[in-house]
């Protein structure tokens, strides 16, 4: 439908009352029709023709009932049913021709026994806006309802929560009356100087457009969860912030994931890497060696006379020794070194970026620390030692299994030659050196 813009013109000549009235009616933006009980139209304004001619089945504007036969077919019946002499026959009846986007409303008022007046309005734009709002609201509701770990809300410039949605209930148990018009610091407590820290956060969002922080978020029941919160400033027409949208992401889930991953790869007793995760670590180290030339050394450590310990003191003692030994090794090794529980009492230590010359002293430190470890059980001092085999991985070994075999053979030699010692496999002559 063509809608050329309204151009305001100064009235160049004084209009007579009649001229003014005429123009007023010509430009009235609602359709006004006067018709008789039988539907015959005797007066109608320009807007009536504009809106209703497209509906007319016969290019006529002569009878209201004919004109509206497709959209309000029961209008004659409604008028006939209305027995009083005056009053509202119908109000805001929607009229829409199928396939045409225009939506009109019809209101009919009886003026006297013979006369009715109808008002018709075009509400297509309103309907479109409402439909869009409904659709947008539907999308937002879907987001609120389905994004599991997120809560979204809006706050005003003073940090007061403006509206509520289901995500606030899901994440924090907050109902509408709990939060609307309350300060955001209800949800983000900021233990000390809460209000000013909250305002500082919103200030940052104001300045940079967005700000984020990790903090505790309070639930209604007083408990808290760890969250990452992002505030985004909402601009008004001039670009000034008029409020903020806050999105809070519950990090507990992520922490759980990390926890699960850790549990899956950890030996339950000693907290060392379990064999499964350890294998992965070893393979990764070996491929780094092959592809990037990153050196690493393997240390294989085996607790001496472990079976005898178990037999003498029981498995509880054995477990205790395993835990204590792992702890001592952890304390002795560097940050970057990994401890893998490879077997019952057997450990592989992975020393990244370490060649044999550096690996050997480390291995000896571990051996000495375990010996001097002062592990006790049930009040009695235990003598715990480890035998250790060391080798440096070489790309020519081909597989990590081969590297392990080499370290293992050094370990065997350590056992064979008296235990509580470090043996390094020097490779050159397929011979091992007893070093300590």
């Amino acid at each position: 439908m063509a809608q050329f813009g309204l151009v305001r013109q100064p009235n160049r000549l004084p209009a007579s009352a009649y001229d003014a009235l005429l123009e007023f009616l010509y430009l009235a933006p609602v359709a006004i029709i006067r018709f008789a009980i039988d539907g015959s139209i005797d007066m109608a304004n320009a807007e009536a023709a504009r809106l209703l001619m497209p509906l007319s089945p016969d290019a006529e504007l002569s009878n209201m009932y004919t004109l509206l036969s497709r959209v309000v077919p029961d209008l004659p019946a409604r008028v006939a049913r209305f027995s009083a002499s005056f009053g509202q026959v119908c109000s805001q009846v929607r009229m829409q021709v199928p396939g045409i986007p225009t939506v009109l409303t019809l209101s009919v008022t009886k003026i006297d026994d013979d006369t009715l007046m109808a008002v018709v309005q075009d509400i297509t734009q309103t309907v479109e806006i409402k439909a869009r709002e409904f659709h947008d609201r539907g999308k937002l509701e879907a987001i609120y309802a389905h994004v599991e770990d997120y809560a979204i809300c809006r706050v005003d410039l003073h940090g007061r929560i403006v509206d509520w949605n289901t995500s606030l209930r899901r994440l924090g148990g907050w109902e509408e009356q709990d939060v609307v018009q309350k300060s955001l610091s209800l949800l983000l407590p900021f233990d000390d100087a809460g209000e000013s820290r909250m305002m500082a956060f919103l200030d940052r969002a104001c300045q940079h457009g967005t700000a984020s922080l990790e903090c505790w978020v309070a639930r209604k029941d007083g408990t808290r969860f760890s969250a990452s919160t992002v505030a985004t400033a909402l601009p008004d027409g001039d670009g000034h912030a008029m409020g903020f949208v806050l999105v809070t992401h519950d990090l507990t889930g992520r922490q759980h994931m990390n926890e699960m991953r850790r549990l899956a790869s950890t030996d339950l007793l000693t907290a060392a890497l379990n064999r499964h995760a350890g294998t992965a670590r070893l393979e990764a180290a070996f491929s780094m060696l092959q592809q990037n030339g990153r050196h690493f050394s393997l240390v294989m450590a085996d607790i001496d006379h472990f079976k005898r310990l178990n037999d003498l003191w029981g498995h509880d003692c054995g477990d205790h020794v395993l835990i204590a030994t792992t702890r001592i090794m952890r304390e002795t090794l560097r940050e970057q070194d990994s401890i893998i529980r490879w077997g019952g009492e057997e450990f592989i230590l992975v020393l990244p970026d370490t060649k044999l010359a550096a690996a050997v002293p480390i291995a000896n430190r571990v051996r000495a620390a375990v010996e001097a470890g002062g592990i006790t059980f049930a009040g009695a001092a235990l003598s715990v030692t480890v035998s250790v085999g060391v080798c440096e991985a070489r790309a020519e070994d081909g597989t990590i299994t081969e590297v392990i075999r080499v370290a293992d053979s050094a370990l065997y030699e350590a056992k064979r030659t008296g235990r509580n010692r470090v043996v390094a496999h020097r490779r050159e002559r397929e011979a091992t050196d007893v070093l300590f």
């Binding site: 439908m1 309204l6 001229d19 005429l22 010509y26 430009l27 009536a48 023709a49 290019a59 504007l61």
Partner: protein
């Protein structure tokens, strides 16, 4: 003061007698382009001449009598939105947006002085013409 004088369009050669063409004459557009305000006032049907942006440039006597609007109240205003809103729909105004040329006739109803009146409309538009036209004749 009279109406602004129309310029003859390039390629439109008026070949109708100046006494006055008929509503459905073939060369009507060329004639209208060259017509003076006095000549427009002589016609037995309504003529609204607009600039391409739909501002009214000529509003003849027939039309003025039928609508009750004086020409000086109308000239310079946008026709479809500020003068004859009854035509501001796809049946009439919309057609002027469709393409550079139109010569179409439409039976419809106008609400001159709020009384529904059967009319026949003729819409004229041509790329060589300076103005676009709506002609209104009574229909029985």
């Amino acid at each position: 003061m009279g109406y602004p004088r129309a310029n003859p369009g390039i390629g439109l050669v008026p070949d109708l007698p100046r006494e006055g063409p008929d509503f459905d004459s073939a060369g009507l557009l060329a004639w209208l382009e060259a017509a003076t305000s006095a000549e427009l006032d002589m016609l037995p049907f309504g003529v609204v001449a607009m600039a391409p942006d739909t501002t009214v440039q000529a509003y003849n006597r027939w039309e003025s009598r039928a609508s009750g609007l004086k020409p000086e109240r109308v000239i310079g205003r946008r026709f479809f939105s500020a003068v004859a809103t009854c035509m501001n729909n796809h049946l009439v105004a919309g057609r002027f947006l469709c393409g550079p040329e139109i010569d179409a006739v439409l039976d419809t109803v106008f609400t001159f002085r709020m009384i529904p009146r059967r009319v026949c409309l003729r819409m004229l538009k041509h790329p060589a013409a300076m103005r676009i036209y709506i002609l209104i004749a009574a229909r029985s």
